[in-house]
């Protein structure tokens, strides 16, 4: 859509016919000065027709993104029998509360609640580049030319503002940093980009970028807002301009965040120390707690971008530090959601862009690292109507390839869309008008095996 086309043909006709003759600038100005509704005909343009909010079992999604690619054999698909060259130090996987399911030894809290989630051990896309793999896993597509929106942006498109979402905070939130070059919204455009909180939920004050500014008092915020409105000289010169009207509306939406209750929602000091400690006093743990609070407020999509999994060097040292963090935060999140009943309507999925080489790279300069591995990797899926206590697919004896039931990114994503009630054939607004559906069509030649019927 061209933002400079301030009126569509129909609006123009209405404008013309309302005056009998085309309305001149002076006429338009006079009308607006005298409070006529003439110019209010110009509604801000929306790129899609109204669609009813999709209904499904799931209302929210929490995506835990193990950014950089976490090792599948050290987490959800242990292979102690593969030998020392493969397992390294982590050679004693533990039993979970579901008989027959073992997971990595550094995940004891998750082991206690395996009945609440399922594991997919046969994720595959065979791509070892961070960018491409991250794109594949989060869009389900391998684009030749177009850049597709990721699942968070698509969810925001179907369950966000256009469908009547009126939450305190935007419908798609990223804790805390966006994934850099990964364009979440793709061709949907910036309206569907996530709101990235910035700051650190584990800091003294979680100063969410744009929302919480400790230095500016509420009174000063309000004074400034009035001041801004009073001196809008350009707006006064072109009072009917649709572009400027959109800016003013966007300002109002921003002020709802600044002056409304959003600040309280992000204020983690309102939680008890006991609760905060349960999630772990680190950025990831407190992000999980924040995600829970956002789900409680009905935010449709939350992504936790959990950095630091690209462990080409010092892999095991890093695992010893990070896996307990992951274990504590994720287990607390799933347990709490389960206890409050929200897990039934909240999908939690946890994975990275790929797994890591099952064989440890002992040679210099890696000296005990693991590289990228897109042939097979694992995902954890919980809630939102997905069954718990299941394992889907298998990798081979050493965790190097898929042994049975390959699950492609599109399969996982389309299963989540299914739980959210977003129809597979719901159209996406392709910039060139090419018919495009939420789930890739056969003609797109995206590898797919079908939805995760095992878990639904």
């Amino acid at each position: 859509m061209n933002p400079f086309e301030t009126l569509n043909a129909q609006q123009f006709n209405r404008l013309v016919s309302s005056a009998g003759v085309p309305m001149t600038r002076r006429e338009a100005l006079r009308r607006s000065v005298y409070g006529s509704a003439g110019l209010l005909l110009m509604e801000p343009l929306s790129i899609r027709a109204d669609q009813p909010t999709p209904t499904g079992k799931a209302k929210s999604v929490i995506q835990i993104w193990l950014w950089g690619g976490a090792c599948h054999v050290d987490t959800f698909d242990p292979k102690p029998e593969a030998g020392a060259a493969y397992v390294g130090q982590l050679n004693e996987p533990i039993e979970t509360n579901v008989s027959g399911i073992r997971i990595g030894q550094l995940l004891p809290e998750l082991a206690k609640i395996a009945d609440k989630y399922s594991l997919i051990r046969s994720m595959t896309h065979r791509n070892n580049g961070h960018e491409t793999a991250a794109y594949l896993v989060q869009t389900g597509r391998s684009s030749e030319r177009d850049v597709f929106p990721c699942i968070g942006a698509v969810t925001s498109y179907f369950k966000g503002y256009d469908s009547g979402y009126t939450g305190l905070v935007p419908p798609y939130i990223v804790l805390t940093q966006p994934q850099g070059r990964f364009s979440e919204a793709g061709f949907l455009g910036p309206k569907y980009k996530p709101f990235a909180t910035g700051s650190d939920p584990n800091a003294q004050v979680f100063a969410v970028e744009g929302v919480v500014s400790p230095d500016v008092t509420e009174e000063r915020q309000k004074n400034r807002r009035d001041f801004l409105g009073k001196l809008n000289t350009l707006g006064g010169a072109i009072p009917g301009d649709a572009t400027l009207k959109t800016v003013l509306q966007n300002n109002e939406q921003a002020y709802e965040m600044i002056l409304g209750d959003a600040g309280k929602l992000f204020n983690l000091s309102l939680e008890t120390d006991e609760v905060r400690n349960k999630y772990g006093r680190n950025t990831f743990g407190q992000s999980c707690l924040m995600a829970r609070r956002l789900v409680e407020k009905g935010v449709p999509y939350i992504t936790i971008n959990y950095q630091g999994w690209d462990t080409h060097k010092q892999h095991f040292q890093i695992m010893n530090r990070k896996l307990p963090e992951l274990d504590q935060g994720l287990a607390a999140l799933i347990s709490d959601l389960s206890a409050s009943g929200l897990l039934d309507s909240t999908v939690v999925w946890c994975l990275g862009e790929f797994g890591r080489t099952p064989k440890v790279a002992m040679e210099s300069p890696w000296n005990g690292g693991r590289h990228h591995w897109g042939n097979v990797f694992s995902a954890l899926v919980a809630g939102g109507g997905f069954k718990g206590g299941q394992v889907v697919g298998e990798s081979d004896a050493k965790g190097e390839d898929v042994k049975s039931r390959p699950v492609y990114p599109a399969d996982l994503i389309s299963s989540i869309y299914g739980q959210l009630g977003i129809p597979e054939d719901a159209p996406l607004p392709h910039p060139l008008g090419t018919p495009t559906c939420v789930v890739p069509g056969k003609d797109e030649k995206v590898p797919m095996e079908g939805k995760l019927t095992e878990l639904i």
């Binding site: 933002p3 001041f227 400027l244």
Partner: protein
Amino acid sequence: MRIRITLISLIAALCGTAYGIHPVYESGPVEFHLGQNPSVSEQIDDLIFKRLHELDLDPANLTSDSAFLRRAYLVVIGTLPSAEEVTRFLGSADPNRRTQLIDELLARDEFPEYWAMKWCDVLRVKAEFPIKLWPNAVQAYYRWIFTSLRANKPYDQFVRELLLANGSNFRNGEVNFFRAMQDRSPDGIAATVALTLMGERADKWPKKKLEALGGFFCELSYKSTAEWKEEIVYYDPIADKENRAETAIFPDGTPGNLRKFKQDPREVFADWLIRPENPAFSRAIVNRIWAWLMGRGIVEEPDDIRPDNPPSNPALLELLQKDFIANNYDLKHVYRVILNTKTFQLSSIPNLDAPEATANFAHYPLRRMEAEVMIDALNLITVTDEVYSSPIPEPFTFVPEDIRAIGIADGSITSSFLELFGRPPRDTGYMAERNTRSSSQQRLHLLNSSHVLKKIKTCPLVTKAVEEKWDTEKLARTAYLTILSRNPMPEEIQAITQYGGSDGGKDLAEDLVWMLLNQPEFNYIH
């Protein structure tokens, strides 16, 4: 031809309405006579105003000097004028001051820098995903684009070099034209060539037409070298195993008549494309430049030229093409001609806010500053900077500390600000990739982010005002000149005094800078 608007505004003035000429943004009604031996700029205006007359539309008034100055700086060099530059220009009584300013801007160092940014969007200059240029290749490609623009390389030569590029992607920058595309099959290359150099979308062509053009790119091969990620692009007659080159047909239907081993088919294609008689070539580029400067193409979208998407003013497009060819494909000449029109200098206050008026350039459209231009402007005003770094480790790209966002070569070097404000991902080369729509998140960032608030707190406008105990009037004057590139009106000074008293002070200075940075008048080119 005398425009009726003069009469209307005369009546308006007699009737005492205040709606005639806006005191800040406008200088007066358009007065236009097509004299003897009109310049090309005048011929353009003639065509525009004639067309508006046919449609029974009136053009907007002419911009004021300050509005013109600001627009010219932002449009021509992507850079905000400094307060000194504003004062100097507003103090000039030279009747040729606008033309002189245009010449000055076209000669500035920022000109090739800013236009390299725009060309890098079109030519997809970006490391890694999904374009797969390696950082050294990005730098080589950028260097070629930048130096070509700085030298004002004739466009026919520019395109010929791109099309016939051979050699290492690290050494011959222009060869990356054949690498910076996701689909490097002959048809994929053909589609990119159609989009980039003809402004046409091959996916709207019959499949046969694309395949026939693909025939010209069948004898092209890529090979790696001993250097990591280096690739050689070269003419390779045996690469065309299916003899597709023999069936190559130019997009206008003329058979290619290629004969194997005689000549690189790309040369034959370049000879066909770059000819004065081939309208597809000059049309695409003059329309693109018009769209860049005017905010909208004569064919809109500018890279979607096809028979069922006709130009809003065919004679205008033809005039620009003829003039471009007569001037030996001189790109700067096209800029100069367009910038010197009255059409470019019309106010953004529409006489009639209707699609026909917009499509026929009856007023200058409001458009938000591009992401890079906006952050550079914020930094210029507040005397702060940003830190940019490359996320791609090997080889690590060195980014100078004082770099401005418009000068960043690599599309993958970015910041959350640039992303938020719609910097194009440079994946496809479509002009529509660059997004200048407003969003509430952008507003939240400008209104209340620590990023922007910190810049305001430490900016010299605030600190100097406090140190030197500026009164409110001086504060307002300096802030308006620095941020909005104009003097404040008495009513505005009055409102500011009402808000914060007449003594200035730190809080008022901060609030004032904050308020002006958040005005659409600042964020939008008008």
